[in-house]
């Protein structure tokens, strides 16, 4: 089988080229580690939270959280005053069962921290409340058992039903939390939103770089011509490249995703496998894209020149900047950017737990890119052999 021989050859060449291997695996790790150091230092920021009328159950839990300080205010006005004077980073106010949080939001990390801390505190206090309710109901149950022994069957059954109905309603209802921001909104520099996009961007960037180099070398060294002087099909050459670099892209992508998720401690609400799959799809698109662009370059340096031209602009469309307010032509342009689809999809999975089965549109678009780019690549080899 020719395709297997091609894959074997490419992998053999690659594993003997230590520099390229290093670029593929060590460079992304270094970049990710650097990123983790930079982003993680932000997470130990101290925040001070002001509370107005929040029940002691919750405030006690907030106090227990590291790097979070608590100040209790008698009135909303006093708390707001402290907020504008930057003495505190957020004000939490309880209205019966609901909470309202106002963030200063000048530092997005602090906002995120408060949000998380409050949610944790609330969850813990809820869990405790549930535990209490549970022990109460166990008590009730034992009482009932005694009654069961004493009373006749029919009567008891009715009573049990009534008892159960009476027990349930209280603490089960989830507390409503509403947020307001003194500065910006919930999108402002929210790291959890940036990281998934940066991760996809790195996947795209590194795969693009290596695959572009690959076919370029084959072409400039003349081996492509020699290869095309044998009866091998053009499509077999392209698929051979896609598969062998695809294997490497799989490893690289998994590596990047794992590092980002674990080192940066990102909370993945959805499925981790879905995150890897979406990134893989993006990596394959990057692979095909790199091979395509390499046909327009005559040297490694010319390949590098594509980076500021076609790679960097992608990041603007990837979801880092909201596109809703952009001019129509920019919005139209964004549909041609693969990173836009993967960015949206991966954000959905990580932040909102979107199922991969609900990402049909994004997956279809990425597959479409893949098919079109691969066909273009096969067609592009006609430059060197017409059949």
């Amino acid at each position: 089988m020719r395709i297997i021989a091609i894959i074997e050859r490419i992998l053999k060449e690659l594993f003997r080229d230590k520099r390229t291997l290093a670029l593929m695996f060590i460079a992304p790790i270094l970049v990710m580690l650097l990123m983790s150091v930079i982003f993680n230092t932000n997470s130990v920021t101290n925040v001070t939270v002001g509370t107005v009328g929040v029940s002691s159950k919750v405030t006690n839990e907030i106090k227990k959280i590291k790097h979070v300080h608590l100040k209790t205010y008698q009135t909303q006005e006093k708390a707001k005053h402290a907020l504008t004077k930057q003495k505190i980073d957020a004000v939490i106010k309880q209205n019966g069962h609901n909470y309202h949080i106002m963030y200063a939001n000048t530092d997005a990390t602090k906002t995120a921290k408060v949000k998380l801390a409050f949610q944790n505190a609330l969850t813990i206090s809820n869990v405790k409340a549930l535990k209490q309710a549970l022990s109460k109901s166990t008590q009730a149950n034992t009482q009932l058992k005694a009654q069961i022994l004493a009373l006749e069957q029919k009567v008891t059954q009715q009573k049990v039903k009534k008892q159960k109905a009476a027990q349930s309603p209280q603490s089960q209802k989830a507390a409503k939390i509403s947020n307001t921001y003194v500065y910006g909104d919930h999108n402002t520099g929210y790291y959890d939103k940036i990281l998934p996009i940066l991760m996809s961007f790195f996947v795209f960037f590194f795969v693009f770089l290596i695959s572009g180099m690959a076919l370029l070398k084959e072409r400039t060294s003349g081996t492509l011509n020699r290869l095309l002087a044998t009866p091998v099909k053009r499509s077999v050459i392209i698929f051979g490249y896609m598969l062998s670099y695809g294997i490497l892209a799989v490893i690289q992508t998994i590596l990047i995703v794992l590092i980002v998720v674990w080192l940066l401690d990102i909370e993945v609400v959805g499925s981790m496998i879905a995150v890897v799959i979406m990134n893989l799809l993006l990596a394959l698109v990057a692979l095909a894209f790199g091979i395509l662009l390499s046909t327009f370059a005559n040297s490694e340096f010319q390949m590098m020149q594509f980076i500021p031209l076609v790679i960097v602009p992608q990041i603007f469309f990837s979801g880092l900047v909201p596109l809703d307010t952009m001019p129509t032509w920019i919005k139209a342009l964004s549909y041609l950017i693969p990173l836009k689809y993967s960015g949206e999809a991966i954000n959905g999975i990580i932040l909102h737990g979107t199922s991969i089965f609900d990402l049909g549109f994004e997956i279809t678009m990425l597959l479409l890119f893949l098919v079109i780019l691969t066909s273009l690549n096969i067609w592009g080899l006609r430059r060197y052999r017409k059949v």
Partner: protein, 244 residues
């Protein structure tokens, strides 16, 4: 009528406005060696590339095995050696031969013995397991030739195969080309070495975009009234030979 292995009819080729080939007619019959000679830049490599379908002719047709080129399937029976050594430098000589053998469609069972044979022809058997980066220029040329010889192709197209190869080995290679010819296979070869041109069956002299002369070395020498192909070449080019 004789069947032609290679047949070029009225080939013309221009790169942009630059006309390289004007009207090329050339035939190769079974069991013959054709030498394509001409000054540097005359378009020898271009003729070969068009014949193989790697360049598109502006005009005219190229047929190999009586089928019009480009034709992918026919390539399995053509051994091509380009002017530049296109080799995978990080692979060993053996790995290069193996890879191109598979690409040419050689059966796995035949491949090992085929590699062994061609390696012996170019005297590379001892160096097969070294990486090509470590090869000398001549060794790369020989490996390149060995790849072209793989699989006993019916037609060999060799673009300056003996550049950088020492006289003893060159003799050995020509002996092999002679053997190939004896089995009824054909060879089209370009060269700048004029005593090699004496060894071919017919010489095609490429000049000004046309085949100026196409005949056996003896007939050409008679025609130009000189005693070597080298002098035919010089006379055709209009260079004064320093003869007293």
């Amino acid at each position: 009528m004789q069947t032609n292995i290679l047949e070029l009819e009225h080939l013309a080729k221009s790169f942009g406005k630059k006309r390289v080939l004007a009207d090329i007619n050339l035939t190769v019959i079974p069991g013959e060696i054709i030498g394509l000679i001409g000054p540097s830049g005359a378009g020898k490599s271009t003729v070969i590339k068009i014949a193989l379908g790697m360049e598109v002719a502006t005009n005219g047709t190229a047929k190999i095995f009586q089928k019009e080129m480009p034709n992918r399937q026919l390539l399995s029976d053509i051994g091509y050696m380009a002017q530049t050594d296109a080799l995978y430098m990080s692979l060993t000589g053996y790995e290069n031969l193996h890879f191109f053998g598979v690409m040419k469609g050689l059966k796995a069972s035949k491949l090992a013995s085929a590699i062994e044979y061609v390696a012996a022809v170019v005297n590379l058997t001892a160096d097969l397991n070294r990486r090509v980066v470590e090869y000398s220029g001549g060794m790369m040329r020989r490996l390149s030739l060995a790849i072209a010889l793989l699989g006993d192709p019916q037609l060999l197209i060799l673009d300056e195969p003996t550049v950088g190869i020492d006289p003893a080995l060159r003799q050995q290679i020509w002996a092999e080309l002679g053997r190939i010819k004896m089995t009824g296979r054909s060879i089209l070869i370009t060269t700048h070495v004029m005593d090699e041109a004496e060894l071919v069956d017919r010489v095609a002299l490429l000049l000004d975009g046309t085949v100026m002369a196409f005949d056996t070395p003896q007939k050409l020498k008679q025609l130009y009234q000189v005693d070597s192909v080298e002098k035919v070449f010089l006379k055709a080019e209009g260079v004064e030979t320093c003869e007293s």
